[in-house]
Structure formats: C-alpha cells, structure tokens
C-alpha cells in the first residue's frame, strides 16, 4: 500500500489538505485532485441515477397508494441526487448532457446491484434497506470528511433524504417478517441474494487495495473494510432482530463482523443465487462487474429515452 511518488505540487496540496484546507474552486485544485474528485462524483452520480429505473420498475407495481407515494418520492430523491453530482461536475468542466445522455450502457460506473431487476415488493424494500444503507454509509463518510466545499454542502440534503429511504426499507422489512407466509419467504429470498451483493459493493479489501488518492486528498475518510463493517453493524442486527438469516455474524473476540462465506464468490444473475462453492479472485469480480448485469441496457435506455419519442431530443 505504498503510495506512488507524487509530484511536488500534489504533495503540497495534500499537506495543506491535511492541515484542514477546504477546496472551493478549480483554481485551488491540482490535476490529481481534480481527477480523483471527478471519478468519485461519477460513481456517486451514476449510482444515484441507475437506482432510479431499478426502483421505478418496482414502484409502478406498488401494492397500495401509500407505498406508491413513498417509492415515487424515493425515485425523485435519487434523481435529484444524481443531478446534484452531475451539476457539480459541470462546474468542474464536465459535460452533464453527455454524462447522462451520451454514454453507452457499459460506461456508467454504478455498482453491479443496480444492474439487477427488482421483481417484487420485497426486492424493492430490501433494496431500500440494504443498497440505500450502503449508499448512505459511503456518502455520510464523504459528507463528514470531504475537502471539497461544494460537495460537502450539497450532501446535507442528500444525507437527510437517504435516511428516509432506509426508514422506508427497514420498516417494510419488519412488516414482511411479521406477516409471515409468502411475504416473509420473499423477504428471506431477497436477503439471500442482496446481502452478499451489498458486501461486494464496498470493493476491494484494504489489504489488496491500490492507493487511490481519494483518502490522500481527503475525498473520503474511511477505508473499504471500515465502510463494510459500518454497513454490517447496522444490517446484521436488523436482520437478526426480525428473524431473517444472513451469512455474517459478530465476533466478540475481534470486535468485528465476520463474513460466513467465501468472499468474494460467483453469482448467477439469472437464478439470483450466490454460488458459495465457487470462490473468485477480485479480478474475476471486476470482470463480472464490467460485463454488467441483466438490466444494464434496459435501465440506461429508460433514462436516455431511446424507446420512445420523436420529439424528445
């Protein structure tokens, strides 16, 4: 994990950031800083953007009007958050139109989780509980630690709204668990595929992680493993509390959560099933991510509108 040698301008900026410097304009940035920031914002914007079609296709079949309102509000929030990320990028010189409408499906940088179809209400609400929890885990770390002023201010709104999504997801998970029968079975089936997928979301473990610059430039504060632990610390007790099984447990001795399956491992997206007997290397995981999941093209088409209108563009 030794950082590659940086040029003096980059090192000077890192030193000043460590002294508490907040960056406000492009003029304050080095090329390295700007590049790392743009990469982070792309992932952030793309993740929020791609959650919208995934959630919407589930939302349009919401069981009641109240739940329809709640998930419509969630889709609305996510698109607003995506717009915030891209607007900030536009002020850094990126082309927002191109980012949303000009890229090919595989060029988006969102997590593999948002390439999957959400096929029933249980999948919708567990996604709120798990995926949005992952999102807020990552973003609240950015919010607390980022050295980029405009992003820090913008994330106040984002953090607040994501909390609502979690509450929506978790309260529905409790209801489904309590309801028993088919609703509860669907909940467990969903947790079975979404739990490992969210663990994977946080990326390479720290002992394999190449230096990214995001920590050095204080664009985030916690490492991948720390973030994964934070997510499990919220999610594992939630599931245990409602009697839903998850392949992870708390280990008193090490005071940490332990994953109870070969991590990472292979996933069959058609059966929505993890193959615990087929462990993978992280390079193989990256290949799976790059090949994208079953809904990637459809979701991007929905956003870009290639299925409709003569008049739209």
């Amino acid at each position: 994990m030794t950082p590659k040698p940086l040029d003096p301008a980059e090192q000077a900026l890192i030193a000043r950031i460590n002294d508490g410097l907040m960056i406000e304009t492009v003029a304050d940035m080095t090329p390295g800083y700007k590049k790392a920031l743009l990469t982070q914002l792309t992932v952030q914007g793309d993740t929020e953007l791609m959650s919208a079609p995934a959630y919407y296709l589930a939302a349009r079949d919401a069981p009641t009007i109240n739940s329809r309102i709640a998930v419509t509000a969630i889709v609305h929030d996510e698109l607003g958050h995506a717009n915030i990320a891209y607007r900030i990028m536009e002020d850094l010189g990126a082309d927002k139109r191109q980012l949303v409408y000009g890229r090919q499906p595989h060029e988006f940088k969102h997590p593999y989780g948002f390439d999957q179809p959400l096929e029933n209400w249980a999948e919708m609400v567990v996604a709120n509980g798990f995926f949005d929890r992952a999102g807020i885990t990552l973003l609240s770390d950015v919010h607390q630690n980022t050295s980029y002023g405009p992003l820090k201010r913008a994330l106040v709104k984002v953090d607040r709204e994501e909390v609502l999504h979690l509450r929506h997801g978790e309260s529905w998970m409790k209801r489904l668990a309590k309801a028993g029968g088919e609703a509860r079975d669907a909940l467990q089936r969903t947790v079975d595929w979404m739990f490992p997928m969210t663990l994977e979301w946080f990326g390479l473990p720290d002992d394999l992680k190449r230096h990214s610059g995001q920590l050095a430039y204080r664009l985030k504060g916690l490492t991948n493993d720390q973030l994964r632990q934070t997510w499990m610390a919220a999610t594992v007790p939630l599931c245990e509390g409602i009697g839903v099984e998850v392949p992870a447990h708390f280990d008193e001795a090490t005071d940490a959560y332990v994953i109870d399956f070969p991590f990472p491992c292979q996933y069959d997206p058609n059966a929505k099933r993890w193959l615990f007997d087929e462990p993978l290397t992280w390079d193989q995981v990256f290949d799976r991510w790059k090949a994208r999941g079953p809904m990637n093209e459809r979701y991007v088409e929905m956003i870009q509108g290639t299925f409709g209108s003569v008049v739209a563009n």
């Binding site: 509000a73 609502l164 309260s171």
Partner: protein, 103 residues
C-alpha cells in the same frame, strides 16, 4: 381515560424521520381531544404527498394507543392552516440549531 397532557407527552415521543424532533416540537399536532376510551389527534404534514404520512400516523396510533384507557385512536389530517416553519417550538429550534439544520 388519559389526560390531555398524557396524550401530548405520548405524541412528544413520535419523531419525524427527517428531523431529529418530535411532531409536537415541529408544530405538526394541531389538537388533542379525549372522549372516554376514544382519543382524537388532529395534525398536519408539510406536503399532501408526504411519503412519511402512513408511517407517522401508525406511530401516533401506537404511541397514543399504548396509554391506559385508550381503545381507539382517531387521527384526523387537516391542511388548514398549512404547516410552516413558524410553528416549530423554541425547544425544537434549539435542537435543530444543534444539528446545524436551521441556518
């Protein structure tokens, strides 16, 4: 049969999912009426399409319904007068200021 005060105290335990504040401090509760075993709570929300309405109504029913002598909780949602931030209590303002929510 609970006193009005007990009902208000129970509502003071129902927090809004967006703000770290109770619906009472947020000024969303307009009135409480206790009639024998039936209690009526009149309240409002920030918008008609507020996604938290059913969650909060359920929380209100649970909190008030847990009081001794309450068999039935009626939650009436009204839109007049509309909610504004001016209805937030002084205590609420202090709490929000602590969280950096109020500028």
């Amino acid at each position: 049969m609970p006193t009005d005060r007990q009902v208000w105290d129970a509502l003071g335990g129902v927090t809004d999912p967006e703000f770290p504040l109770s619906i009472v401090d947020l000024g969303m509760v307009y009135g409480v009426q206790v009639e024998a075993t039936r209690t009526r709570v009149t309240m409002t929300f920030t918008s008609i399409g507020c996604p938290a309405i059913d969650m909060l109504v359920a929380d209100v029913r649970e909190a008030v319904g847990a009081l001794p002598g309450v068999d039935e909780v009626d939650v009436e949602i009204v839109w007049d007068p509309p909610w504004t931030r001016d209805r937030i209590s002084d205590r609420g303002r202090r709490v929000l200021a602590m969280y950096g929510v109020v500028g």
